[in-house]
């Protein structure tokens, strides 16, 4: 499953230079259907995710038999989109 994880690589949003303390970085606005694992941010840095929506839990499952009949079956609202790989740049 690890191969399906999305890793976000970050460089400085404002300058494009290698990251230093207290820099601001940005995830491009958009809708994402894969897990984000964001690591190794610069010390004191700020990550802006304005306009970013991450969706989770979008799996179709059947109703477990132990559940009350009053519980409706689950319907997947959206289909998982392909992996988005993004390199954030200035």
């Amino acid at each position: 499953m690890t191969s399906r994880l999305l890793t976000v690589f970050l460089v400085c949003f404002t300058t494009g230079r290698p990251c230093f303390a207290e820099t601001e970085q940005k995830i491009p606005p958009g809708e994402y259907h894969e897990q984000f694992i964001i690591g190794d941010l610069p010390e004191g840095g700020h990550l802006s995710a304005d306009g970013v929506t991450i969706y989770g839990g979008n799996r179709t499952i059947t109703r477990p038999s132990r559940l009350s009949s009053s519980i409706p079956p689950v319907i997947a609202i959206r289909k998982t989109e392909s992996v988005i790989r993004t390199r954030i740049s200035s």
């Binding site: 499953m1 399906r4 994880l5 999305l6 995830i27 894969e34 897990q35 984000f36 694992i37 964001i38 690591g39 190794d40 941010l41 610069p42 010390e43 004191g44 840095g45 700020h46 990550l47 802006s48 995710a49 304005d50 306009g51 970013v52 929506t53 991450i54 969706y55 989770g56 839990g57 979008n58 799996r59 499952i61 477990p64 132990r66 559940l67 009350s68 009053s70 519980i71 409706p72 689950v74 319907i75 997947a76 609202i77 959206r78």
Partner: protein, 264 residues
């Protein structure tokens, strides 16, 4: 059904291996049916919208919107302190803040609406911590959510109510606490709850701490079932909650990512 089937959907967003960082602006939305009962969601999606892992120093999270996720924010072990500010969370199916690693932190100016448990601060290993969790200028509403009973604890099922839609529901509680969980400093907050917790009245107690200008909107049929600490006043006027909620949203309407979803 296993967690492996769901893999990456359990923790939609992780922040890890960093020191003294902040994050703002993100929305995390669960797409599973909100009508699924508690134990099914727990089994299938037992993760946080935002998990902080292997981080040190401080983490500040601001202007985020989380909806329909098992747990909201999980500050992990290793941090010195965390801040959650202007967060808007709805339909969190278990813990809004899952601070079971007992890290000191503060919750400022947040709107927690229609959730199951506000703050979980109960270490699995039972260790003792001398921490204080600060809660200020926040609105917190616990509502009954679809619940399939507490397995192995059938006596709890008497707190489940079947709604007009045929779905059985029960609320959680404000605090999931142990004797060793530390203290709370709560100031200028409005809380709302309308029925006895699935766990019964004992779990509706407020933790030790200091409470100032805290209003509890309680709409249960009987009086709030356990004593309240000094500084907490009770009203049954739901308009107190609705007005405060409207004011919170209006105040942040121009900038908050949650507004888009609230208007859908």
């Amino acid at each position: 059904m296993t967690r492996e089937l769901l893999n990456e959907q359990i923790y939609p967003l992780q922040l890890r291996d960093s020191r003294d960082v902040s994050l703002s602006g993100v929305s995390v939305i669960g797409l599973q049916s909100p009508d699924l009962p508690w134990r099914v969601v727990k089994e299938m999606w037992d993760g946080d919208a935002l998990l902080v892992k292997h981080c040190e120093g401080t983490v500040t999270v601001q202007d985020v919107f989380f909806r329909n996720i098992e747990d909201g924010f999980g500050p992990g072990e290793g941090l010195d302190h965390w801040t959650l500010e202007r967060a808007w969370m709805e339909e969190i199916r278990d813990d809004v803040i899952e601070n079971d690693d007992l890290v000191p932190g503060q919750i400022l100016n947040c709107l927690i609406d229609g959730c199951f448990v506000f703050l979980s601060q109960r270490a699995p290993d039972g260790r003792v911590a001398e921490l204080t969790t600060v809660v200020r200028d926040s609105l917190i509403r616990i509502t009954a959510q679809p619940h399939d009973g507490a397995e192995g604890k059938p006596w709890r099922d008497r707190f489940i109510v079947t709604g007009e839609d045929g779905i059985e529901r029960a609320p959680g509680m404000f605090f999931k606490w142990a004797d060793s969980s530390g203290r709370v400093e709560m100031k200028n907050c409005i809380l709302h709850m309308g029925a006895v917790s699935i766990n019964g009245p004992d779990d509706m107690r407020f933790p030790p701490g200091v409470y100032k200008n805290v209003t509890l909107v309680w709409t249960g049929k009987e009086p709030y079932p356990v004593p309240l600490p000094a500084g907490v006043t009770v009203t049954s006027d739901e308009e107190v909650w609705h007005m405060a909620r409207r004011e919170w949203i209006n105040r942040l309407a121009d900038s908050h990512p949650g507004l888009r979803f609230a208007l859908e």
